[in-house]
Amino acid sequence: MVSLLEAFMLIRMGRTKKALLHFIFTMIFGSTLVSSWSQDSTHPAAMRKMPCKTLENAASCYWAHGRLSLYNGTPAFRLWKIGTRRLLGIYSGPNAELRDDLDNEHPELPANITRIFDPVSNQIFADFEVCPLEPEREGAMQSACIESAKNIVVDKWPSR
């Protein structure tokens, strides 16, 4: 719809050739992107209330093997990238704390994690697709969100 409007504006400005090219390009590539996204009904983003992986940060997302646990302190949920000395502070997504100032205490997680994760009594080992929400700084926790997870193992705490 937007591309039609843009093409119409370009025609009115007397730039018909450019308008046609713009319209064709958008129809081919734009529609391909949309269809591939919508056809993948299992994509975690389809079920999320708050998006983690967005067009803006998609390029920075990556997979990491880690351990997701509840921590004392803030943020409450932290992901240790196993084999490193780095901790990620977990939030629902970009600007999540602007919508909910206590987002760090109950960040939105992929559905396959939420189903089995009981933060008080267990922790999760898995391959996580994480999207950083800020640049990495030495000596400081980096905030991030979890888009998806696979190869999940639940580790139950010793009884309390």
């Binding site: 921590y71 010793p158 009884s159």
Partner: protein, 202 residues
């Protein structure tokens, strides 16, 4: 006329002068032997609670509250607040051992970091808070095992992950403090008005 000296070698005039002239004060009681404060601190620091030492508790307090700065508006001192955090860590360790609520690891800051006067002060007061909490006969948190920092005075129960049940009930709330590591605008805590809370089971 010549004054006749007494048997002690002083004339009666000298003795009268001695009585009239001010006498030196009695010597004060001797000072107690000096205590090596550093040794005392080291001795307390090395005490083992369950899985953690008192020094470990201090390092965890330091790691989690390093960015919290004093504020004139706070209802508690920063030292007192750190003691409450230390109590929560100690309660968790004594009650649950290895299954205690997870905290940042006790990491010793580098010598370079400690050259920063603010970091040094936070480090020293955190270790002192752990010692005070350990030696204190009372627990102002009434058995709290969890703590966090909130961006406002919200006193709602701590329900991690929106878990079922009442969650953890707030035991103490200290603040508002300033925060030297603000991350507001993206995610996290603002530079002013943050609160340090402790929570305990129902």
């Amino acid at each position: 006329m010549q004054l006749k000296p007494t048997s002690q070698g002083k004339s009666w005039l000298d003795r009268i002068a001695d009585r009239i002239s001010p006498q030196p004060a009695e010597p004060g009681s001797p000072e107690p032997p000096r205590v090596d404060q550093t040794q005392w601190e080291k001795a307390v620091d090395s005490h083992k609670l369950n899985t953690l030492t008192v020094h470990d508790v201090g390092l965890i307090v330091f790691g989690e509250t390093q960015s919290v700065m004093n504020s004139d508006h706070a209802n508690d001192t920063l030292d007192g607040t750190r003691q409450k955090v230390a109590h929560a860590i100690i309660n968790g360790d004594l009650g649950h051992g290895l299954a205690r609520p997870r905290t940042a690891r006790p990491i010793e800051p580098s010598a370079k970091e400690l050259k920063d006067s603010n970091i040094r002060k936070a480090y020293d007061t955190s270790l002192a808070a752990a010692r005070e909490a350990y030696l204190s006969p009372t627990d102002p948190t009434q058995g709290a095992t969890h703590f966090n920092l909130r961006p406002n005075a919200n006193r709602s129960n701590f329900k991690p992950g929106d878990s079922r049940g009442p969650g953890f009930i707030i035991r103490t709330q200290s603040g508002p403090f300033n925060n030297s590591f603000p991350t507001s605008g993206k995610n996290g805590l603002p530079s002013r008005g943050i609160y340090v809370n402790t929570y305990g089971p129902d």
